[in-house]
């Protein structure tokens, strides 16, 4: 990649003027997104004992995989920008301001000065370049895989001066700005040059050598047991939006003990017995019980593309748009709330979650439950009720094969409810709900074997639609290349990736949802997944960031 200065720069409006940065002072930005906010002054000190299901494994922020991985990596690192979880707006963090060219292929960031890594080395433009280069291109000798999903068409990063960088792509990449705030899997947090020099093996074996600039430091790591984080004293460069006052800018908690507890009843029992202060991964059945017992239940939808069966438009019988429409309106999403989901979850109202800018609510339109209309669509299309109540056309039964993942506790019961309701209008759903590795195997055969594939993608940016449904990118609905539909979808979805003008982007996102859900019926949305935490009453301000990862910067423990 080149380190020369860019030749002809045609930078567009500064981000501030474009309206992407609002609110230097959003004092209550996190109030509704966090636990037990009170007016009393935060207590400094104490250890938060936090339970979770999965064993963290990859604490390198560029390589995080599971939810606990990313929570830990994000609390020990900082990112260039901060995304407001309520509005989705991108705000300053380690970058004080930024600009981009009109074609959205070059992004320039001015960096905050005085930021240091916990080993004392400075954070500057050279560090940003080294991080982005390794993340985008990988390093075979170190066993680091290139992250081509978040850095598509990456050309390189130029160091303009010690506190200014320009990131360049060969194609427009509007969602890159949001990626600079990203805290989900393979996040945008920065590690020190000493960490970048280590192999994947070394970073996994001894994660205490993963050095970030964040409000916490990894103190110890025992695989399958716990990860202990300690406060970084002297930290003072949090995003202004987090409105952190007190303790000189450092976090309030002295320590966080993140314990892996695989068995659900042991997590709940440990919280009740006082062995934990809070726990993630609360079962829906335990959630009701804990709520009754007076525990705080904290939840936030995971933003992005929600849990939805993407329908295969190239495979019988979902190649028939009337079948796809019947699948979408032929079952009652509200009944999920009665039997499967708790109030911590939302039923699907769009292919996007409600947090993502540009989201459209289809609850009373395209997703309104209408079994009569669904049956009429099928009957008019020649699908007559046959033996066992299953519809038949040209001697073929209306059987659709759906595959999903069992990683979220409510997936299987939700899909089974959908299956039962669709059977009543004469559609036989053959359902497989599998562990992730088996699912990945089936997903590779989706084009020829599956009528519907369900998964979600967590990213608080509408570009997630482009990434998933554009026939030029993910093509999750297998839209035939060269068809009119493919052309229209490619053009419309590309518009999301081609602009950062808020009004244009929202318009493009709305148009994209209309095409995906209404015009071409490419997906059958089910529900919005949530991350659910149960916490004792004395736990205050566990934050949920824009990707619904928890941040403990503002967290404190009251008297107990």
């Amino acid at each position: 990649m080149s380190t020369t200065r860019p030749k002809a720069l045609a930078f567009g409006v500064a981000a501030t003027a474009a309206g992407l940065v609002i609110s230097a002072c959003s004092a209550n930005a996190n109030a509704t997104n966090s636990a037990g906010s009170t007016n009393s002054a935060p207590v400094i000190g104490g250890t938060l004992r936090f339970g979770m299901l999965d064993a963290p494994q990859f604490l390198d922020p560029h390589d995080t995989y599971s939810y606990p991985d990313s929570i830990i990596a994000d609390n020990i690192t900082d990112r260039l920008t901060y995304q407001d979880p309520k509005t989705g707006k991108i705000e300053p963090y380690l970058a004080t301001s930024w600009s981009y060219n009109s074609s959205l292929t070059q992004f320039t960031f001015k960096l905050r000065k005085g930021v240091t890594f916990s080993n004392g080395t400075p954070f500057n433009a050279a560090v940003v370049k080294a991080n982005f280069d390794q993340d985008a291109e990988g390093d075979e000798s170190l066993g680091i895989v290139a992250d081509t999903s978040h850095f598509p068409n990456y050309i390189g990063t130029d160091v303009v001066n010690p506190y200014e960088v320009t990131v360049k792509f060969s194609q427009p990449n509007a969602s890159f700005l949001q990626y600079t705030a990203f805290t989900g899997g393979e996040s945008a947090g920065f590690v020190s040059l000493s960490t970048l020099a280590e192999s994947k093996d070394e970073r996994t074996k001894n994660p205490t050598t993963i050095i970030g600039t964040g409000p916490f430091i990894i103190k110890s790591f025992t695989y399958e047991k716990d990860v202990i984080l300690v406060r970084r004293n002297g930290y003072d460069w949090a995003p202004p939006a987090l409105a952190h006052t007190g303790n000189g800018g450092a976090a309030y908690l002295s320590e966080i003990d993140m314990e892996t507890i695989p068995e659900a009843s042991v997590r709940t029992g440990s919280l009740e017995a006082g062995d934990l202060d809070a726990t993630l991964d609360v079962q829906t059945t335990d959630e009701r019980l804990l709520r009754k017992e007076g525990y705080q239940i904290l939840a936030q939808s995971v933003p992005g593309r929600i849990i939805s069966f993407d329908l295969n438009t190239s495979l019988f019988p979902t190649n028939d748009i009337d079948v796809r429409r019947a699948l979408i309106i032929g079952w009652n999403r509200d009944s999920l709330l009665k039997s499967v989901l708790t109030s911590s979850y939302r039923v699907a109202t769009s292919p996007l979650s409600a947090l993502v800018p540009g989201y459209v609510d289809y609850a009373n339109t395209a997703l309104k439950y209408d079994p009569k209309e669904a049956e009429k669509l099928l009957s008019d299309d020649g699908w007559k009720v046959g033996p066992g109540g299953i519809r038949v056309k040209d001697g073929k039964q209306l059987i659709v094969k759906f595959v999903g993942i069992n990683n979220l506790v409510v997936n299987e019961p939700a899909y089974e409810l959908m299956q039962a309701e669709l059977k009543q209008i004469g559609i036989d759903v053959e359902l497989s709900v599998l562990p992730i590795p088996d699912f990945s195997v089936q997903q590779a055969k989706a084009a020829t074997n599956w009528n519907g594939v369900a998964e979600n993608s967590s990213r608080d940016d509408p570009a997630v639609l482009w990434q998933t449904y554009s026939p030029a990118v993910g093509n999750a609905a297998f839209v035939a290349k060269g068809s009119a539909a493919a052309e229209q979808l490619t053009t419309t979805l590309q518009e999301i990736q081609d602009t950062l003008n808020p009004a244009q982007r929202i318009a493009a996102t709305e148009a994209a949802q209309n095409l995906i859900l209404v015009k071409y019926a490419l997906t059958d949305p089910v529900y919005e997944p949530s991350q659910v935490i149960a916490a004792a009453t004395y736990v205050h301000d566990i934050g949920f960031d824009a990707q619904s990862r928890n941040d403990f910067y503002n967290t404190w423990l009251g008297k107990h």
């Binding site: 081509t148 695989y223 047991k225 009843s265 062995d275 590795p437 997903q443």
Partner: protein, 314 residues
């Protein structure tokens, strides 16, 4: 004697090699591309083929299976079991870092299980009350019929959450070892107790016992001095079954009590189809199993004079 030793060692080596080869064949027949599993399913569509090729080469999955087999077998002989596909760590390191807590758990559970088994066998043979003997003899089948996870959850509920005597999770010190050891010992004690009770009762009817009793020995004296040694020998023959129970039980016990160990690593590696690690676990288990059986084969002649004489005469 040396021929006997040689034969037993050769068998142990064969068992380990066969375990390696069979696991290689089975794992490579799985319809799974280990490289695909390295990526988030939602990112697979946007991950370039070049990135996948790069990582396949790093883990050595780019060569034909037969070439991989011989290369990996050669490496395994030199003590290199490859890299975990999930974590990138060397397989030896991944297993080595969790083998100790499992060995501690298994050895303690075995000791407790043997004590329970001897206790049951001794009491069941000593008592003169028919109903008590029947009750004691029904315990071993019961311990193997109750699922381990149920025993664990009940113990944790009562002794951790209600009474607060022991911590529900962790591997810090003896206190945290008590509940997991008991949970694992219960099912393991079942087959041993069954076998011991049967052979105690059989031996009690042997002529040498009758002679001792005729000479005025009490039932307890006969049991502890005469029957004990003769009746215990057959228990060594089920070392393999016991070993299997300990390994299988550790998967569940370590999960319930949130303890790091081989059991959790097994569960995780199978769940994520981490082929090199699964194979490493199979090989390490086979080595432990072969060593255990070899030890039994070598100790047995020392304990049983009849076998010693037969080997000597060969």
């Amino acid at each position: 004697m040396s021929r006997y030793l040689l034969a037993k060692v050769a068998r142990a080596v064969f068992v380990v090699w066969a375990a390696y080869t069979l696991s290689f064949i089975l794992l490579y027949l799985l319809p799974v591309n280990a490289i695909d599993l390295l990526f988030d399913p939602t990112d697979l569509a946007t991950t370039t083929a070049a990135a996948k090729r790069q990582i396949a080469a790093y883990y050595g999955f780019n060569k034909p299976a037969i070439v991989q087999y011989f290369e990996r077998l050669g490496d395994a002989f030199r003590g290199d079991l490859g890299l975990s596909v999930q974590s990138g760590k060397p397989v030896w390191y991944a297993i080595g870092s969790v083998i100790e807590p499992t060995l501690v758990l298994a050895v303690c559970a075995l000791v407790v299980a043997v004590c329970i088994a001897f206790g049951i066998a001794f009491l069941a043979s000593r008592t003169r009350f028919r109903w008590l003997a029947n009750l004691l003899q029904s315990i071993p089948p019961a311990t193997v019929s109750v699922p381990v996870f149920l025993i664990g959850l009940v113990l944790i509920q009562v002794f951790s959450f209600n009474l607060g005597w022991f911590p529900p999770t962790g591997d810090s010190g003896l206190v945290s070892l008590v509940l997991p050891v008991v949970t694992l010992a219960i099912p393991v004690s079942g087959p041993i107790a069954q076998l011991l009770t049967d052979s105690f009762l059989r031996e009690l009817e042997a002529p040498y016992v009758m002679t001792a009793v005729a000479k005025g020995a009490t039932r307890s004296w006969v049991l502890s001095r005469e029957v004990f040694r003769n009746a215990s020998l057959p228990a060594l023959t089920i070392a393999g079954v016991i070993f299997g129970n300990l390994l299988a039980g550790s998967v569940i016990v370590e999960t319930i009590y949130s303890r790091p160990g081989m059991g959790r690593l097994t569960e995780l590696s199978v769940g994520t189809k981490d082929i090199p690690v699964i194979q490493g676990i199979v090989v390490v288990s086979a080595i432990l199993f072969a060593l255990g059986n070899l030890a039994v084969d070598l100790i047995y002649p020392l304990l049983d004079p009849r076998l010693k004489a037969r080997i000597a005469s060969q």
